[in-house]
């Protein structure tokens, strides 16, 4: 069974996050909590990695976020979205971490960038040339540095909107801000990022018409 079909089937019968949280609150249901962790571990870890710029530390923060969610399970109000509650817990942990003096942000994703997905990895047929691959990695690294140079309140909004696909209204709920303020900060962030990335984007290697193709058969002369 492919992953997407399995996910669709799971979604058909899966209880909502709020239902699972109800079970955790009232009966300390470990299975229900494990299911919540399973669903939200990825998004929370990605958020933490992008906010603080440290993939290793983000794993710790992710665990801490779920530990805090469990410890404060009685404080969660039924009727509100669990995702909002969880995003807030994770962001507060990230902001606290950013204020600590030991930060390893500059050593952050040097190794992980090499493991990161290239936009061309899954394309059938042609594989990127080493130059294209290097260019993609360089752009990714430039994006990382540009995002980390933004003020926290702008960076968070870009991450939630662009990478986690929350609507502006949902971001406003998470950050407890008016929706207009969220959009204004997003425009400021985009203008800043455009300025920071302009040179990198102009130098980005375009796909060459002579890029190497994988040989599918040997020609026999």
């Amino acid at each position: 069974m492919s992953a997407s079909v399995l996910e669709s089937f799971k979604a058909l019968f899966a209880p909502a996050d709020e239902q699972l949280m109800w079970r955790v609150q009232t009966a300390d249901d470990a299975e229900a909590f494990a299911e919540l962790v399973n669903r939200w571990e990825g998004p929370i870890q990605r958020l933490c990695t992008r906010v603080i710029g440290d993939a290793h530390r983000s794993q710790d923060l992710t665990q801490e976020a779920f530990a805090r969610l469990y410890a404060r399970r009685k404080g969660y109000r039924q009727g509100s979205k669990l995702s909002t509650y969880l995003w807030r817990i994770a962001l507060n942990l990230c902001y606290d971490d950013l204020r600590r003096p030991y930060h390893r942000r500059e050593t952050a994703l040097t190794n992980d960038t090499n493991e990161a997905c290239s936009p061309w990895e899954d394309m059938p047929g042609d594989s990127p040339t080493p130059a294209e691959h290097a260019a993609a990695e360089e752009t990714g690294e430039a994006v990382r540095r540009a995002l980390l140079s933004l003020p926290e309140h702008q960076r968070t909004i870009v991450i939630l909107r662009h990478y986690e696909n929350l609507k502006f209204r949902e971001i406003a709920d998470v950050l407890d801000l008016p929706e207009g303020t969220v959009k204004t900060r997003m425009t400021e962030a985009l203008n800043q990022l455009a300025t920071l990335l302009r040179r990198t984007l102009e130098l980005k290697v375009a796909p060459s018409p002579n890029r190497r193709r994988r040989p599918t058969e040997l020609s026999v002369l």
Binding site: N38, E41, R46, A55, A116, C117, K167, L201
Partner: protein
Amino acid sequence: MNHPNPEDLVAYLYGELLPAARQRLAEHLTACPDCQKTVNDWRQTLSALDTWQVPVHRPALSALRTNLRWAATALILVGLGLWAGRVTAPGAPDARLMRAELLPVLRQELRQDLERASARTLAEANAETQRLVGEVVQTWSATREEDRQTTLALYNRAERQRKTDLAWLRRDLETVALTADARLETTQHELGQLASYSQTRAETR
């Protein structure tokens, strides 16, 4: 020309405008190079953002175990469904249709169950709070009464002591008065004797 504000442009970029507003803005962009450039710059920036992919490290075993559990559940349910379909013969209802019909009812029942459970929990919490408040009031009243009794006892003791002291003082004063009277009488008698002696001597000379 009235330019849209940047907030509307970013909402347009992410497809969050209502259709009518989106249409108006799209028409404006075709006629306004400045706004079009802003949107293009942002689009290019957003494309660049996509190049920063972040790996997620998660324990492979837990994910595999979860998927296996779901796969096993799926197989059992599919098997049961097939068996039920064969047994119930032709005319078996469409599973999707049944699900679409059952889902609102199930949601409604779940919502009612949740509301009842919430109300019950709230009532129990209120009763417990009332009981605790009552206990606190009782304890406080008992403490106050105890303090009052202690104060009263101290006061009574002090009052008794005062009376005792007064009685002694009175007795002492009476003793002093009697002693003073006796001494006065003695002195008067001695003075009388002295006077008669002096007179007698004066007569015999």
